[in-house]
Point group: C2
Chain length 267, copies 2
Amino acid sequence: MSERGVIDWIRKHAPNFGSGVRVGIGDDCAVYRPVAGEELVFTTDFTIEGRHFTLGDYSPRDVGYKALARGLSDIAAMGADPRFTLVSLAVPDETFVKPFFGGLFGLARKYGVTVAGGDLSRSEKVHVDIVVCGTVPKGKALLRSGAKPGDWLYVTGPLGIWKKRPTPRLDLVEIVRREAHAAMDITDGLSMDLDRLLIASGVTCEITAAPPVCRGATLEDAWHRGEDYELLIASPKRLAKPFHEIGLVCAGRPGSPVPPKGWDHFG
Amino acid sequence: MSERGVIDWIRKHAPNFGSGVRVGIGDDCAVYRPVAGEELVFTTDFTIEGRHFTLGDYSPRDVGYKALARGLSDIAAMGADPRFTLVSLAVPDETFVKPFFGGLFGLARKYGVTVAGGDLSRSEKVHVDIVVCGTVPKGKALLRSGAKPGDWLYVTGPLGIWKKRPTPRLDLVEIVRREAHAAMDITDGLSMDLDRLLIASGVTCEITAAPPVCRGATLEDAWHRGEDYELLIASPKRLAKPFHEIGLVCAGRPGSPVPPKGWDHFG
């Protein structure tokens, strides 16, 4: 199949919810018309064969699902609603393309995400890079830097097992946006991500409870393993399930009392 | 150097022109605040070792320059002004990172582009994926589909030689936005890109003049080689240099009278 044939297939099947996208796949650029009073948030995430997955463990559909799920998880972490995605895919073999997009389009449809463009190329190993754009009312984006002494720290579900098809916590966006001072998603291990949030906020914390642990994982896994795609938030309020309290923010030398041992891509 | 060390270095040196970017490198997402009356255009482009460049021919600085130049060329093709970029870089070896960003930051500074975020990872070969966001007054983005019978077709400079450090034609954005009905950049060869523009517009053309040819290239190169990063535009007006007339749009079976022989990534 020629590049044009592949692109025509993608264009025909790509979810399109409008959602502000005036021009989608097929031009030099996608065009987005913002709504008054909204801000846009953008994330970009690689999903690379041999680094983030292996083709022994992941089908092309799984890779498409996960590539978008990673981006959507970042959008949830900002307290934002996803709008559109741009998908760059480099593959050794074009048979990968359709099932990959099948998995990705399924997830995009579930959350009303328009696939607005991207790039296709060849590469010896599968490389995906996804951009997701979300929207949030002006000034309401949740940053890592907003935690304050007295805030409670929560995680949104059990940790410790690499998830092939993680569910981005977009179901919690409304409550997180209303109740949290700071948020991020847990991808590199709770210990490392907690350290990052506390450093960004210039605070430290006491650990008040162990994080919930996935069946089949250990507490060590829950702290350090990563790829959880749950949220870590700081809120001045007492929150009920699925928010599990793990600590209390306090003043002090910025960083976590639990030494970070998570995933460092250049370590 | 750890991932955090690398990111700290990037954050410290990344051009930041404000330009609507409220939150840049270091959070889960970048945050952009749109200005009333503007639309946003987005492009994403891979630059892959062995596909778009070789490390024998390109220094890391050249790769950084070119990765951004490719995206800026798409922004120019929409008649837009570049605002910010997100840079995803996967490398086998972290010594690549600083000179790569050195080359990229230099070009970003020249055009006032904020580097607002991205992703870093490891890979066996260098893979870059760049997103560039630009802005254009509402409804003014130039599409491929706007050419009309009676429009003159122009290219903006000599063609036929692969350019290691192409100059994106952002210098022509104002005049192109004012005078053109349709525009795209020439990356896959004039023959293929002209065919695409005419098909998107549902028109054909007569060729009225040969395209200008780079010194050292042949007319065949100018038509088919690609990687020119000049613009192809359709305008109802007679335009002076650097616009070189090559044809006249007319009604007929959509497509180019010159058989496309350019670059097909999946061909």
